[in-house]
Every structure is written in C-alpha cells, then in structure tokens.
Symmetry: C2
Subunit: 340 residues, 2 copies
C-alpha cells in the first residue's frame, strides 16, 4: 500500500489570483501591519531582540491580519485602529505557536528551526509570554475599546483548547463533538474575533458584528479541518512534516475519528494497536494515512469542512456588494482548495 | 569551613504580631480575595481544574494582595474593585512562578511538587498562559480603568526581567546596576503596581499615586535583595532548597556581585573557577556561601537592602496617621528581618 498522492494546487492560477486580489485590495494596509509587527518585536534587550528579529523574518500567511483588513474595508471602517488590532491578533497567534512548539517539542516551524529548538524551551517560554502580554498591552495602552474583553476571552479559549487537546492526547474515546470544541477553541474563535473586531472598532450594529463573527467562526472551523486533513496527505517536502504527524503528537483529528466510527473492524483494531503501542514510525504513519484515504474518510472530512466553508459564505450575503465582499467570499474556497 | 548558621526569626514574636495586625485590619478582605482566586481557578476542563485546585491549595504569603488591601484602606478607597485587582495581581505573580519553574527546572515550589514536575512542562506552559491571560481577562471584562495598561506594562517588565536574567545566566560580567534592573523588573515593579492600584481605582491625585508607587518599588527592591541574601544562608529544611542554589540556576545576585567587586583575589578566582567548570555540588555551593558571609558581603548586601526599606518607609510620611499607615510602615521591617 503506497502513500497517497498529494495533489499540490498551491500554484493553481485561480488560487494565485485570489492572493493577488487580496494584495491589490489591502496590500498597503498589510505593509503597515508588517511594520507595526516589526516595531513591536524590537527590544533593547539582546535575547528579546534576537528572537524578535527571527520571528519577524519568518512570517506566515498573515491570514488573520488579512481578515481584519478585508472586514474593515467591507464595513467601511474609516479609522486607523485596524492596523494595530491586526498586529495584536497576529501576535496572539504567534505566541500560541511559540508555546505550541514547546508542547509538541517541534523542531521546525514554517520550514525553519522553531524558537524552542533554536533558543531552548526556557527562553521560548518567556518569549511566548512576552509576545502574549505585549499583544494585550498594545491593545490596552491605546485606550479602551469594547473588543478588548472579546480578545482576552478569545485568547483564553485558545489556550484552553490547547490544554484540552494536550490532556486528551492519544485518547481514542474522543467524540466528534469534542473535536469540534477543540477546533473552535484552537482556531475558529480567533478567526471569528479577527472578523468581528472591525465592527467593534467602528461601532457597527450588533447584527453586523454577529454576521462577521459567524463568517469567521465557520471559516476557522473549515480552515482547521482542512489542516487536519492535509496532515494525512502531506509529505515532508511540502508541509515540512511527514504524513500522519498529528497522530504522533497525540492529536486525534476528524479523519481519524471518522475512521474509528465508520471504518472496518480491521481499521479500528489497527489504529487501536498503533496507539496502544505508541508505534509512530514513518511506515506505520503512512499506513494510517493510507487507511484514512482508502476508507473514504478523508474525503468525508473534506466534505464536512466544505459544509462549514459554505456556511461561512452564507453569512456574507447580507453585506452590500463590493470587491471586499467578493474576495472574502473566495476565502473559504481558497482555504478548502489550497492543497487538494 | 562549615556552613554559616541560619538565624530563623520567623517565629519572632514581633514579626508574628505584625502578621496578626495585618489579619485584623484586612483579614476579611483577604478572605474575599482567596474566594475570588479559588473561583477563577475552577474550570469545567479536567486538566485546568486539577492544576487550578492544586494552585489554590498551595497559597503563598499573599504579600501582593495584602499590599493592595492595606493601601486601599490607607487612602480610604470605598469601592469593591480592590478585591478583584488583588486577585488579578496575585494571578500575574502565580503565572510567572509556574513559568519560572519550567525555566529553572525546579522540582519544588512552596514545599510541594512544582506544576512542571507534577504535570510535565507541556501542561505547565499552557496553565501558566491560562493564569496570565485570565488575570488580564478578569481586569478588562470588569470594564475600563486607567490602571489596566499599568498592569500590562508591569507584566511585560516582569517577563523581560526574567528574559534578561535567563540570558545572563552565569555571566560574571554582570554589573550591580544590571542586577538592580533585574530586581526591579522581576519583583519591584509588581510590588509598586500593587501599592498604586488603589490610587487608580479611587481616582486619587497623582502625588498619592506616586508616593504609593515609590513605597512599593523600594519595598520590592528590599524584598528581592533579602531573598537573594537568604539564598546564601538558607538550608534545605527552611527554604526548601540548598544554600547557594541561585548560583546553580545561573543567578548572579547582589552578594556575589559584591564579592566579585570587593572580595580577595582568591575569592574572585574561586568563584570564576566554579562558574567556568559549572561545579555546583553541595560542598562547593556551601563554600561559595561561606565566602560570601565571611567576607562581610552578605552583611553589606543586607545593609543595601535595608537602605531601600528605609526609603520605602519615607514615602509613607505624607499620609495621615492611621493603623493602616502604621502596619504598612512595619512591612519593610517585616521583610528585612524575616529570616535574619
């Protein structure tokens, strides 16, 4: 049973075009966000400055700031605070990645050494704290806004999601609803807050805030579920980690839960034996991945992710037509199709 | 050269009397702070609830909440927010201890297993995050107060103090002014904010805020310096760690800096050789401690700590006489004499 093939569509011209449209709509704002991020990672203190420069250089896709910026334009926000808040929300994401890498003992992050593997877990714990607290500090020192407790609540939810996940490592009694709770907390609440923040900043009515929050929540669920699917069909070259790596870290994600629920007795027994023996060599992980694919459960998980993407799109319908709405409506598609 | 003797005065009747007076003045408030702390360490999620209950049960001296409560009474604050903020500031302290124990790989905290040794560093990283973020969340969800950015700034300072200290482990080129900076950031800024918080809560004039902040800052410096002194004359039975333990963790504190600056060439050479070889067996640490004591540098460090305690007291003079001022004026004495 060979490894399933990965169909990389990252260079798909349609997806590239979405990226270009985002760039043309909010590219200038995004540059200001980058400058804000870089500024607040500087420090007169050597270890902070070194790790800060390293973080500033290893930027990710900046999906969260992009959502803040696009939603700000969508609702016609005319202030300047969206730049600061986009940086704040990206910092919260960054801090969780730093601490996640300690929790998962991850050597790599975005194709480079993780902070914990390069500076050691001791400094990485403190740098993660620094980035977390600095995010909150940037928001509050700018003065009060009603979104501030929403952001702190979201951050709390995020950390509790990680705690629950870490606590239920390799727990095959996990139920799909537990997984949905983890997915919401780990990822979707922050997406939701990124989308609703501009509504708070501009004092938009409650229904606008709720539509944006619901768009972000469903988009975030779809995003995390796709991520969990990708884990089974990635290879070291494309995602920087071997297929099935999540299982090695103890993460029982949707495709595995579906296999446990709907796979053959042999699939279930195989998975239980692998987990009981903590047998996570590349060959075994590849077989797990192959069973997930061949049982149709990967496809089923993708289908579920797609339904959340559809739900996300539905929450945009109430907004007036604009290039911003158009490109936001493409985001679910972008997320779903990025590697399938 | 035997180990220096520890003169434990913790059961000194005079010190016990200060404790009783604190209890009679703010004991009821302190119980409400304890209840608030316990409430916010509860959780429906198993790992959070378990670690939370463990933390709630291993309370420390609650010095920081006591300062908030006494200073609130000193200035006649009539609201109720001092209870919440006392809990918030204690949570920030608690969170740093959880992460410190990971950084220092400490097995014990307050005579019991540390969170990191009992639940592992992975869950301890996340629980520390949870306590940090929950502290900020409790403050901001209560609504705006001008002290909020002061608290986030103080927390940032605290973390950067730890980062600097961790970065300069076993660095014998550290200067006394670097040490003072670390002491301020690690400890004194939080003491200062505990004392000035009631002034923000009650909208007291700037000079009241500044006097309270200066009292707390100097008290905090004295407290940390005494702590650093105690390390050289403690033994496992009284402080739960062997004499000279800080050096093993890489902390070059004031008594050592004084020995490097003013000790004999032999003292200096000995210390350099110990650090170069990372020779931290109990026998060597005992000799380091003995040299610190016999050179008179421990006494000199205590003298410097006392001068900060005097400075702290001086900042109380502008307040009208009251039992609260009286007991606050005894705090420096309490801190200085607790184990000498």
């Amino acid at each position: 049973m060979g490894p399933p093939k990965l169909r990389v569509l990252a260079k798909n011209p349609e997806l590239a075009r979405i990226g270009q449209r985002v760039q043309s709509l909010v590219g200038e704002d995004l540059q200001r966000v980058e400058a804000t991020i870089a500024t607040h990672l500087r420090s007169p203190y050597a270890p902070v400055a070194e790790m800060g420069a390293y973080l500033a250089a290893s930027r990710g896709k900046r999906l969260r700031p992009i959502l803040v910026l696009l939603c700000s334009r969508l609702i016609g926000y005319e202030g300047q605070k969206h730049i600061l808040y986009a940086a704040v929300l990206e910092f919260i994401h960054t801090a969780t990645l730093i601490h996640d890498d300690i929790v998962d003992q991850a050597l790599l992050r975005r194709g480079r050494a993780s902070l914990t593997s390069r500076w050691g877990p001791e400094l990485a714990v403190l740098m993660g704290d620094r980035v977390f607290i600095n995010a909150m500090h940037l928001a509050v020192k700018d003065g009060w806004n009603d979104v501030i407790p929403v952001i702190s609540d979201t951050t709390l939810s995020l950390i509790e999601g990680e705690l629950i996940q870490s606590h239920r490592k390799w727990d095959l009694t996990l139920q799909p609803e537990d997984n949905l709770e983890i997915v919401k907390r780990k990822t979707a609440h922050l997406f939701s807050t990124c989308c609703s923040t501009p509504a708070y900043l501009s004092g938009a009515p409650q229904d606008v805030r709720e539509s944006l929050a619901a768009f972000g929540l469903n988009l975030g669920i779809a995003f995390q579920m796709v991520d969990d699917c990708l884990d089974f069909i990635s290879d070291e070259a494309t995602l920087g980690k071997p297929a099935g790596h999540d299982l090695k870290e103890g993460k029982i994600t949707l495709p595995l839960l579906l296999l446990l629920e709907r796979g053959t007795p042999d699939d279930k027994a195989f998975l239980e034996a692998v987990v009981a023996a903590r047998r996570f060599d590349p060959e075994t992980l590849r077989e797990v991945a192959a069973r997930v694919v061949e049982s149709g459960m990967l496809e089923e998980a993708q289908r579920i992710a797609s339904s959340y993407a559809d739900e996300a799109r539905a929450h945009l319908r109430g907004f007036p037509e604009s290039p911003y709405r158009e490109v936001l409506a493409l985001m679910p598609e972008y997320i779903i199709r990025r590697h399938f």
